[in-house]
C-alpha cells in the first residue's frame, strides 16, 4: 500500500450527502422559537460531506489495513485471541435483543432477563462462585467492581483499617490501577524463581491492613501457582480476601475452579475466554463472581427469578451501587451465552485442553531457539526471552516487527516486566497444528536471521502498509485530531 488512505474529512465534497431521512410530517416551526437564543448552534460541526458509497469504500479500505483473527494467527499473550464464532454475531443481532430498550416493563423483557439469569448461573458454575453480576463491561471494570465489593465487605464488618491491596510484580497493569481507583494502597509482592508468588515475601507483607491479594492463576508466565492453597490460607488467616483476575481463565475450564482454590471474588473477560470479539479495543464484558458472604454487595440491580418469571431487584441496601448506566454490555453477554450453549461443559473442557496442548507444543518446539526462563510445562501461554537474540543486537521489538512480514501478529512483548525482553505467546485452542508449525518455522527463521542478517530483523517490517512509526514524535508533539 504505497499511498496512505485519505482521512474521511479529506474526501468531503461540500453539498454531498450520505443519508436519507423522512420528510418532516409535523407542523414546521422555526427552531429559534423553541430553543434558547444563546444556545443555538452558530457553526455547524465540520463533519465530512460524503455519499454512502464514499463512506463504505473508506471504511472497507481502512479495514484492509488491519491484522485480525479472521485474517491471520494472533498469538497475543494474555489476550486470548481465539476465533469468534459467527453464530454469536447472528444471535446478538436478532431484533428481540438488538431493539430492546433497557427500560421496557419487565414483562416485555423476559427473554433477555432469562438469558442474563442463566448466563450468571453458568459462569458461577464454571468459576465455582455462588453468584455473578454481568454489569461490569470490561476486565478492568470487573476488577474495579470486585475491589469495591471487597472494600464494602470489610467496612460492613467494621474493619476500617484494610486499605492495602497486594499485587504480584508480574500482574497486569490494570490490577494496581483498579486498586488505586477504589482508594487502596498497593503493595507489590515478589515472584519466586517460577514466577509464582514468593511465599516468604507474602508472609512478610501480609498484615491486618490487607484488604485483598489480586492474583492471576495461571499467572502471566502461563504457570499454575502450585502454592495457591497455602497463599489463600495466608491471606485468609490475616483477614484478607483473594481476588482472581480471570484474564487467563482459558487455561482452566472444567479442570480447576477459582472458587475451589480459595478465591472469594473473580472477574472473567468474556471477550477472551468466552469467544466474544475484541472489536479493536472493546466492547468487552467483565462479569464478577463472588462467594456467598459477598453477595449482598454485588452491583444493583440483580436479576432474580420468581416462579417462572424474571425481574430486576433494586432493593439491595448493602450493594456497592451501580457501575454502569444500565445492566452491562448485554449484546456481548448474548454472544457469550450463545458460545456456552454451543460448547456445553464437555466442549469448554476441551477448549482448555487444546489451548494448553497448543501452548506446550509451541514451547517445546521453540525453547532451544529462544531462551525460556522457566522450563516446565506451561498452561495456555508461555513467556520466552529474546536475550539470546539481544546478543546479536536484535531486540524483542525487532522480532515482533519481523513477524509482521510473515502475516503473523506478534506476541505480547516486554510483559510481564519480570522477564528480560519478554515474548509472551498464547496460541489459543482454535488454531490447528499446521498454523502452529508455520509459526514455528517463521520463529526459527527469525532466530537464524538474528545471527546471520540482523539488519533484516532490525529494519522490519518490510511488507506492511506503513513501516515503523515515530511514536516518540507523536507523544512529544501530539496531533490528536484533523484540522481543516
Amino acid at each position: 500500500m504505497g499511498h496512505p488512505i485519505p482521512l474521511i474529512f479529506e474526501r468531503s465534497v461540500p453539498g454531498r450527502t450520505g443519508y436519507s431521512l423522512p420528510e418532516c410530517d409535523v407542523p414546521e416551526v422555526p427552531v429559534q422559537q423553541l430553543l434558547p437564543a444563546g444556545q443555538i448552534r452558530q457553526e455547524a460541526p465540520r463533519l465530512p460531506q460524503v455519499s454512502e458509497g464514499d463512506v463504505i469504500r473508506h471504511y472497507v479500505n481502512l479495514s484492509s489495513l488491519n491484522h485480525s483473527v479472521d485474517t491471520g494467527f494472533y498469538p497475543l499473550g494474555s489476550c486470548t485471541m481465539k476465533y469468534n464464532p459467527k453464530v454469536n454475531e447472528t444471535a446478538t443481532r436478532l431484533p428481540g435483543f438488538a431493539r430492546l430498550h433497557p427500560l421496557v416493563p419487565e414483562r416485555c423483557a423476559q427473554g433477555a432477563l432469562e438469558l442474563m439469569y442463566n448466563l450468571e448461573q453458568y459462569l458461577a458454575e464454571i468459576t465455582g462462585m455462588d453468584a455473578v453480576s454481568l454489569q461490569p463491561v470490561a476486565g478492568a471494570h470487573g476488577e474495579y467492581t470486585g475491589l469495591k465489593i471487597i472494600a464494602a465487605y470489610h467496612k460492613a464488618r467494621g474493619d476500617h483499617k484494610r486499605t492495602t491491596v497486594l499485587v504480584p510484580d508480574s500482574a497486569h497493569g490494570t490490577n494496581p490501577a483498579s486498586a488505586a481507583m477504589v482508594g487502596m494502597k498497593i503493595v507489590e509482592i515478589k515472584s519466586d524463581c517460577h514466577g509464582c508468588v514468593c511465599l516468604e515475601d507474602l508472609k512478610a507483607k501480609v498484615d491486618d491492613t490487607v484488604a485483598a491479594l489480586m492474583l492471576t492463576n495461571p499467572n502471566t508466565l502461563g504457570l499454575f501457582d502450585i502454592n495457591i492453597a497455602e497463599i489463600a490460607e495466608i491471606v485468609h488467616n490475616a483477614g484478607g480476601l483473594l481476588y482472581y483476575d480471570g484474564a487467563n481463565a482459558n487455561a482452566i475450564l472444567g479442570k480447576v475452579r477459582p472458587g475451589d482454590t480459595g478465591f472469594d471474588v473473580v472477574h472473567l473477560n468474556l471477550h477472551k475466554t468466552f469467544s466474544t470479539p475484541h472489536g479493536g479495543g472493546g466492547p468487552g464484558s467483565g462479569p464478577v463472581g463472588v462467594k456467598a458472604q459477598l453477595i449482598p454487595y454485588l452491583p444493583a440491580p440483580r436479576v432474580v427469578k420468581e416462579g417462572d418469571q424474571y425481574r430486576l431487584d433494586y432493593n439491595l441496601p448493602d450493594s456497592i451501587g451501580k457501575v454502569h448506566s444500565f445492566y452491562g454490555n448485554f449484546g456481548v453477554n448474548v454472544r457469550a451465552y450463545t458460545y456456552i450453549r454451543m460448547m456445553g461443559g464437555e466442549g469448554l473442557e476441551r477448549v482448555s485442553e487444546d489451548a494448553v496442548l497448543n501452548a506446550n507444543y509451541l514451547q517445546a518446539r521453540l525453547k532451544g531457539h529462544y531462551h525460556l526462563e522457566y522450563d516446565r510445562l506451561c498452561m495456555h501461554e508461555f513467556v520466552l526471552s529474546g536475550k539470546l537474540q539481544k546478543a546479536h543486537g536484535v531486540r524483542t521489538l525487532d522480532i515482533a516487527k519481523r513477524l509482521l512480514d510473515f502475516g503473523v501478529h506478534p506476541p505480547t512483548i516486554y510483559f510481564p516486566l519480570i522477564i528480560d525482553e519478554a515474548i509472551m505467546i498464547e496460541p489459543t485452542e482454535t488454531e490447528g497444528k499446521e498454523t502452529l508449525d508455520y509459526f514455528i518455522d517463521v520463529m526459527l527463521q527469525i532466530a537464524r536471521e538474528a545471527k546471520e542478517d540482523p539488519e533484516k530483523v532490525t529494519q522490519a517490517p518490510h511488507t506492511t502498509p506503513v513501516s515503523r512509526l515515530d511514536e516518540v514524535g507523536a507523544a512529544r508533539n501530539p496531533v490528536l485530531r484533523w484540522q481543516p
Binding site: 488512505i5 416493563p105 471494570h141 472489536g279 479495543g281 472493546g282 511514536e471 507523544a475
Partner: protein, 447 residues
Amino acid sequence: MNNQYLPNTPEQRRQMLEAIGVGSVEELFSYIPEKLRLNRPLNLPHPMAEARLMAHMEELAGRNEVGAVSFLGGGIYDHFSPAAIDHILTRSEFYTAYTPYQPEVSQGTLQAIFEYQTMICELTGADVANASLYDGATALAEAAIIALNTTRNSKILLAGTMHPWYRKVLDTYMADLDAQVAEIPAVDGRLDLDALAGMVDKDTAAILVQSPNFFGIIEDLPGIGKMLEGHKGLFVVCTDPISLGILEAPARLGADIVVGEGQSLGLAQSFGGPLLGFMGVTEKLTRRIPGRVVGETRDTQGRRGFVLTLQTREQHIRREKATSNICSNQALCALAASVYLSLMGPGGLREVARQSLLKAAYAREQLAQIPGVEVPHAGPWFKEFALKLPRPAAAVIDAMVDRGYYAGIDLGRFYPGMEDCLLVAVTEKRTREEIDGFRAALQEVLK
C-alpha cells in the same frame, strides 16, 4: 468429540503430545494439585448444534417485546441507524482485531479512532477527545476524577437533573475517593441557579451538569459556566450528541470537559449495552484524559500514520499512578458513531436534531390536550419531556403496552413524588400518524 471451533484431530493431538514428550493431555495439567481439581464434568446444559441453538436464541429473543411504537428515552433512544453501519461493524478486520498495539498492522483501527476523535471535538467544541469510555455514566465519573486530580479540591456539585443512574454510578466512583458530592437542587425541572450560586466556592472541584437534562430541559449553560469564573473548579457538561446538531457546542459555552452517551449515533439499543461514552476536554487537560488516545505521526519513509499516544497516562505503563484503570473501551461502538456521523454529515445531523425537536413539540402539544394531562415544566427543551397524568404512570405504561405503545418512563421510579409523571421521548423516526395514534390510545387509557 467433534467441534467446529477446535481444529486439531486426534492424530495431530498425538503428534503434539509426542513432541512435548508427555503421554496424555492430562499430564499437562499435572501441576494443578489433585485436591484442588474439579473431578467432575461442569454442570452445564448439553452442547447444542448450531441449528437448534439458533432456534433457542430466536425463542428467547421472541420473548422480548420490540414491536411496540417506542417513546422511551432516558439515555437510550430509538433514532434511525442506517444499514451501512452494521455492514462496516461486521467487517471481520475491524471486529476481530485487538487493541491496536502494533500500529503497522492496525492502521485501519487507528485511523478510524483518529477520525472519531476529530468528530467528537467538532461536535462538542473540545480541543481533545479520547478513543471512548464505557458509557455516559462512567464518562461522567471519569470527568469528576479529572476534576479532583486537577484542582486538588474535593467538592463535586452534581445536578439533581442529571440522569439518576448516572448519579448512582458517580456516587459509586466517588465513594472511596477524597470527594464530597453535593446535589444542586432543581426548580421546575431545571437547575436552581440561585441555589447553585450559593454552593460554588474556592473548594469546588467541578460542577457536573446534564443538558438537555434528564427531563429533556435545556439548562442555562452560559449562566452556569460564568459561576466558575475566578474559581479553579471545572465545568463538566454531559450532553446528548444528537442535540449538538442544533444546540451550541458546550465547550464554546465554557465547558472544560464534555461527556455523554453516544448510543444515539447509530448504536443498537441492545437492552442498554454496549454503549459509547465519549469525552472531550480543553487542551490544558490533554494529559489528564483517561484511556486510549490516537495521534498522527510519520513512518520511517515519511508517510502519514497513526499510533496510540500519550501512553504514560495509562495503566500498562503507569500502573497505580495512571489517570484511570481503563484498558478495553468501546472501540467498535466508536467506529459505529464515526460511520453514522460520516453518513449524516453536518446537514443530516442537523435534520435529525430538528425533526426530533419538532416531532417532540408536536407530540407534547397533542398529548397536553388530553383532559387531565398537564405539562409540569416550562423551560426550553429538546426531544424529551415530562407529562403529568391524572393517574400513576406505571399502570398507564402497562395499559399502553397492550395497545402497542411504549409510552415512556415512569418518573416515580427515579423521583419520589413524581409517580404520576411520564417521561416521553420522540425521535425523528416517529411519524405524525404514530404520534396521533399514541394520543388516541393514551386518551382512551386515561378515560
